[in-house]
């Protein structure tokens, strides 16, 4: 057990490291290199020399996958030390560099189920940001009912031939590899015929199309597989036993939800206008006090946010102390709700200044506000809908019986 004093001293070292190495550009929320730094990958190019140097130095510390061993290009840190690294990175607006699907969700599964060869091949590349990963779980006909998935992988000697469609693959169009769930035994009960493949997205037969959302953005893709040949040694874990891996992976997904949510404050690096600033700005006389009902609505939203932040903090503290912690589904459900309410209120406070799609009349901030409001509708759907989270809470936390 690391003592509190040792952790304090570690924190001081980490803080000093960031103070010395972090370039000023990191605070620029629209810096063109942010995407490449957050997600990495073969096609990622970091153009700004200062950002490039910072990224390389960060990779050298192993902090992108802080708890992995040094052999895996991690830093060999404890969970408490890793949390400090993330805290301190967030403090200097660099939290966004320390999170991606690879190191948070796929990597831990490869560490637990991969062969030595698979671990050698994928972990270091992931921790160094050289290969970007995405997930291929949902299908057009199988969203919440994930175990019903139909994407087929038929064994043909030393390859699987994969045919089917996946949807809601985050950033698949900018990724190099996909953790893909396929059905390898169509005759087994639905939870028992699934396998996990690690698919190089440059393989012939794969087509990826971004999906345009109501917000105008396209962070999700639809991916089609037409007789795609995937070597059998790209399978992760035993054949037909993929559902067990999915269940095991949920643990990492939940940890990732907490980690990503913790870094959220620093994720954009941009200081959002506070709700009362927004409300004031849209008054006839911005120096006049806010009407009581407006102030109360703002206070309610701020209090809810404060409670959510405290719950994230408590989840991390309790996990560290080995005490019962709020269930990750609680964080997922509440996080979506709190953010959606906040975006709603932001829109209401901006009035007609926020209803523009484009045009010189609208400020960048109000245009962003409407896009973020639209994007937020997805928060209670992606990664397990809010209703699925409530089902999980009812069963696993409250021990209520199955219907």
């Amino acid at each position: 057990m690391t003592t509190a004093a040792a952790l304090d001293s570690f924190r001081a070292d980490v803080r000093a490291w960031f103070a010395e190495h972090t370039p000023a550009a990191i605070a620029d929320s629209r810096h063109p290199d942010r995407g490449a730094m957050a997600w990495g990958g073969r096609r990622a190019r970091i153009e700004d020399p200062a950002m490039r140097t910072f990224y390389d130095e960060l990779v050298a510390t192993g902090w992108i996958a802080p708890t992995w061993s040094k052999d895996e290009s991690g830093a060999g840190l404890s969970a408490a030390e890793a949390a400090i690294v993330r805290d301190e990175a967030t403090r200097v607006s660099a939290g966004f560099v320390l999170q991606n699907f690879g190191t948070l969700m796929v990597g831990p599964l490869i560490r637990d189920f991969g062969t030595d060869e698979q671990r050698r091949r994928h972990l270091t590349a992931m921790a160094r940001g050289e290969i970007a990963w995405c997930l291929g779980f949902s299908e057009p006909d199988h969203g919440s009912d994930l175990a019903g998935l139909q994407c087929r992988a038929v064994r043909d000697g030393e390859v699987y031939v994969v045919t089917g469609a996946k949807v809601w693959n985050s950033r698949a169009h900018r990724s190099d590899f996909m953790e893909l769930l396929v059905r390898t035994d169509p005759d087994a009960p639905k939870h028992h015929g699934i396998s996990v493949l690690m698919v190089d997205l440059s393989t012939p037969g794969i087509s990826i199309s971004p999906i345009e959302l109501i917000s105008g953005g396209s962070d999700f893709c639809e991916t089609r597989f037409d007789e795609v040949r995937v070597p059998v040694d790209h399978r992760l874990g035993p054949e037909h036993d993929g559902w067990r891996l999915v269940q095991h992976g949920l643990r990492f997904e939940r940890e990732a939800v907490v980690t990503m949510a913790m870094a959220e404050t620093g994720f954009t690096g941009r200081k959002r206008a506070t709700l009362d600033e927004i409300a004031r700005h849209h008054q006839v006389d911005p120096s006049a006090p806010l009407p009581g009902d407006v102030a109360s609505q703002i206070a309610a939203a701020e209090i809810e946010q404060l409670a959510f932040r405290a719950t994230q903090r408590r989840a991390a503290d309790a996990a560290r102390a080995g005490q019962p912690a709020p269930h990750p589904s609680v964080l997922k459900y509440v996080g979506a709700k709190v953010t959606q309410r906040r975006r709603d209120l932001e829109m209401a406070l901006r009035g007609t200044s926020a209803i523009g799609w484009k045009g010189a009349a609208y400020t960048d901030e109000s245009l962003r506000s409407s896009r973020e409001w639209l994007r937020a509708f997805g928060l209670s759907i992606e990664g397990g809908t809010s209703e699925i989270q409530l089902n999980i809470i009812a069963r696993r936390v409250l021990d209520l019986p199955l219907g």
Partner: protein, 390 residues
């Protein structure tokens, strides 16, 4: 690791982790055992049926004193345990789970705390050791209105030679009906002041209020009540700032109690959902009810975090403590009321009966929500503290 650059500031103090420490876990277990033994919920109904005019169980009060828990946050040299608010919060939460009333908020967190901060040594030694020894109950008389208000009270203190004359009326004085000494907040020419008042003084009239939650409070009027100079607590006209801190602390303690109540009625309701069979299956298997329970659980988790953050902020003397206290009370007032209502609805008809527990929680919710400022008051105060209040 690169050398520490001289321009880097040392890390700020580590935030206190939002978990109970080992001693608090032990305290919680011991307190649960005590409450299970001495304060079953049935006592509430029994006391009302017996025509109780105290509002709490004297035996429970004695046991709290014997265990050293009355005065748990009061200074050691006054007979207290010198603990943190976090320790008191553990006790309040456990008492709240059984809706067990005890003169802890009044004697320790309100009047006791005010004396411990602002009282002179004579006043402190006259009352604080007695509170800790269970020989005295103190009450803080500060509300002049039916809504919590921290602005200037109506009750006045007029200077006269050798002392003051108090004139006015105070509402809903917690434990005012059994107090051995009152601390009365009144407005004098130089501002807001506090005075020690013997409840048997001429001109003091105490009316018992039997409340919907089985507790008892007092409305107290002061008609030309004469007190000496040495009754003044702290500087004349300067009690406002002290009182704000005292009220915030007591509010957070009350929030811990309300959290205990909300969690308890939630747990009972979920157990009922598991047990109660309709249409040949436990009603807890129906998704409509599962989702209600799950959402309620989420709100409880948020509330618990907020209470713990407020407790930690008070103990750390964090400048955010006042805003967190208000955030917590706004949240807990709404949550406990909703918890009572959810409990009744999910229990169905049985939840409406006096024999079942949900009704006891819903009445306590209404009282606790109104005490020390309701959700509306605290949301507005939160806004004001953050610079955008109306």
């Amino acid at each position: 690791m690169t050398a520490v650059s001289s321009t880097v500031s040392a890390p700020s103090r580590r935030p206190r982790p939002l978990v109970l420490d080992d001693e608090q876990l032990l305290l919680r277990d011991a307190a649960r055992a005590l409450v299970a033994e001495c304060a079953p919920m049935a006592d509430l109904r029994d006391r009302r049926a017996a025509g109780d005019d105290v509002g709490f169980d004297r035996a429970l009060h004695r046991r709290l004193v014997e265990l050293g828990w009355l005065g748990i946050t009061l200074p050691v040299d006054q007979g207290g345990s010198g603990g943190r608010l976090a320790d008191a919060a553990v006790l309040f939460e456990v008492l709240g789970a059984n809706l067990a009333p005890a003169p802890l908020l009044s004697s320790e967190l309100l009047a006791g705390r005010l004396l411990a901060i602002a009282g002179d040594p004579t006043q402190q030694s006259a009352w604080l050791p007695a509170v800790c020894a269970g020989q005295a109950i103190l009450a803080l008389a500060f509300e002049d209105r039916h809504h919590h208000d921290r602005s200037s009270p109506f009750t006045t203190a007029t200077r006269q030679s050798g002392g003051y004359v108090l004139q006015g009326a105070k509402r809903e004085v917690i434990d005012g009906h059994v107090a051995d000494q009152l601390v009365v907040v009144a407005r004098s020419s130089s501002g807001c002041s506090a005075f020690l008042v013997n409840p048997t003084s001429p001109g003091v009239t105490i009316r018992r209020n039997h409340l919907i939650d089985h507790r008892i409070s007092a409305d107290i009027s002061f008609d030309g009540v004469v007190v000496d100079d040495d009754a003044l607590v702290g500087e004349e006209g300067a009690i406002d700032a002290v009182l704000d801190g005292v009220l915030d602390r007591a509010t957070v303690a009350l929030c811990a109690e309300m959290l205990g109540s909300a969690q308890a009625i939630f747990d009972r309701t979920v157990a009922y959902l598991r047990d109660r069979v309709q249409f040949d299956q436990p009603i807890g298997s129906f998704q409509a009810l599962q989702h209600r329970a799950a959402i309620w659980h989420c709100d409880l988790e948020l509330a618990r975090s907020l209470v713990m953050a407020a407790v930690a902020a008070v103990d750390d003397e964090d400048p955010e403590a006042a805003a967190l206290a208000s955030a917590a009370k706004a949240t807990l007032s709404d949550l406990l009321l909703r918890s009572g209502a959810e409990a009744i609805q999910l229990h169905g008809g049985i939840g409406m009966t006096y024999e079942a527990d949900p009704g006891l929680f819903v009445t306590r919710a209404r009282v606790a929500a109104a005490l020390l400022g309701d959700a509306t008051f605290h949301r507005r105060r939160f806004a004001t503290l953050n610079g955008y209040g109306p």
